[in-house]
């Protein structure tokens, strides 16, 4: 699937949840199901410090594709993190760099990417692009 196909699928899934609390219950489920980060990745170097919650993000580059691994100390953030890394993982640096992550807005979670939330997610999105750029440069 392309990045946008994955995004559209998430948007479709979230359309089923009309109540906000159901939407969050689903995010919590996703967060709880996210595999814990390997201890070698859960290090300060990979830490994105938010004021309210923290996110760890690591990436691997194999066969021209980037695979992301991430975790957060807050479950809702972990749920959003899980969606984000699913969407961008196993794509080429160019695909990731050229993508517009519109699904967050469409599923009504844009507020979680606002700088005032200070939950580390906005910085995580930037970091995803930085990884893509770094791997592209490295070739």
């Amino acid at each position: 699937m392309t990045i946008n196909e994955k995004q559209d699928q998430i948007v479709e899934t979230f359309e089923e949840y009309t109540d906000w609390m159901d939407k969050y219950a689903y995010l919590i489920e996703l967060g709880n199901n996210l595999s814990p980060l390997d201890p070698k990745s859960k290090v300060n170097q990979n830490l994105i410090e938010g004021c309210q919650s923290r996110v760890w993000l690591d990436a691997e580059y194999t066969n021209g594709m980037i695979h992301f691994m991430a975790e957060s100390d807050a479950v809702i953030v972990k749920g959003i993190v899980s969606l984000l890394i699913d969407v961008v993982s196993d794509h080429t640096p160019d695909e990731i760099l050229n993508t517009d992550l519109y699904f967050i807005d469409k599923i009504g979670l844009k507020e979680h990417l606002s700088p005032t939330r200070a939950n580390g997610l906005l910085a995580m999105v930037k970091q995803i692009k930085l990884y893509a750029l770094a791997f592209k440069t490295k070739g």
């Binding site: 609390m21 969050y24 919590i28 004021c51 309210q52």
Partner: protein
Amino acid sequence: MNEKLDINAIRNDFPILSRTVYDRPLIYLDNAATTQKPRCVVEAIEHVYYHQNANIHRGVHYLSQRATEAHETARATVRDFIHATSSNEIVFTRGTTEAINLLATSYGETFCNEGDEIIISAMEHHANIVPWQMLRDRKGIKLKIIPLTDLGELNMTAFEELLSERTKLVSVAHVSNVLGTINPIEEIIEKAHARDIPVLIDGAQAVSHMPVDVQQLDADFYVFSGHKMYGPNGIGVLYGKEKWLDILPPYHGGGEMIAHVTFEKTTFADLPFKFEAGTPDYVGSVALAAAMNYLSSFGMENIVAYETDLLLDATEKMMKIDGMHIYGTSSHKSSVISFLVNDIHPFDMGTLLDRLGIAVRTGHHCAMPLMSALGIDGTLRASFAFYNTHEEIDALVAGIERIAKMF
């Protein structure tokens, strides 16, 4: 129900309390961060701008004189509200933080030398930590920290042991912004004064919740912010005994604070103007006085009684929630409850409470050293004001229970 206060009528004085968030009635429980403003405070601001706006002091024209009178009447209102001896002891600042920074500079640079010590506590807000660390780095002084007991109270035995020949100041919170603990500041002041050590009290979390009498306390300095006591943002107060303020050098230089200026030498104005460089916030001062008059009209004793009811009701009901842990269990508490439920992250619980229209604060509450001492990253904090109701507490408890089941 409270017999002395008509809470519904009080709520009607605060237009914002009738708004909704996410189509739900707003339940505002973040009062320790900032309180909402009654109509009379906002109207006071409007009145100054529409009817008497002019720069104050030394204006010969009519408006300037009216504005000056209003500003100085506001100062007298503050004086009376905290029972200071004289208006000379009331310095307007931008808030608690600026007041502490003023003292860290004016007092610290004058009286503290290398090896001297300043005592603060483990429950201080960053505003009462960082200015002293900056002074420490400039002057080579030492910071001594009063540890806490398991109840979240100051360890008074340890405090007495920290007092030494080198102690130049004790600076502690009247009420903890995280734990809600009301500290025994009378005792602290008495013990420090027995060794001729002055005491600064950070009253930011106290002034809107209890009567404060600086003379009875015998505090040397007492500081607080307007916005946490139903007043406007950007104004606060430094109370200092006249004998101290007299001998301290000015903090900022500029207009308003001078007596005579030549390029060779400047002589400074008398108190309190020596500490108020530049055009003061003569709008904020008047609105702060309006907030104080508003509070006084209900009687601080009645406010304490009602808020204590709220605290007890909330504590009792919250304790019944499975997995509830309350941080700060002193028997002397103001209406602040910091808590965690099971291992649910404060951000998760806070985000979901917000969706239910309930505003609480999450995180470290600008007290990271306290969080380290408690061994946690952060808490949720519900903090009550006298416009909150028992029904809102029930909604908070129901919300927490509902959310806890989601994890």
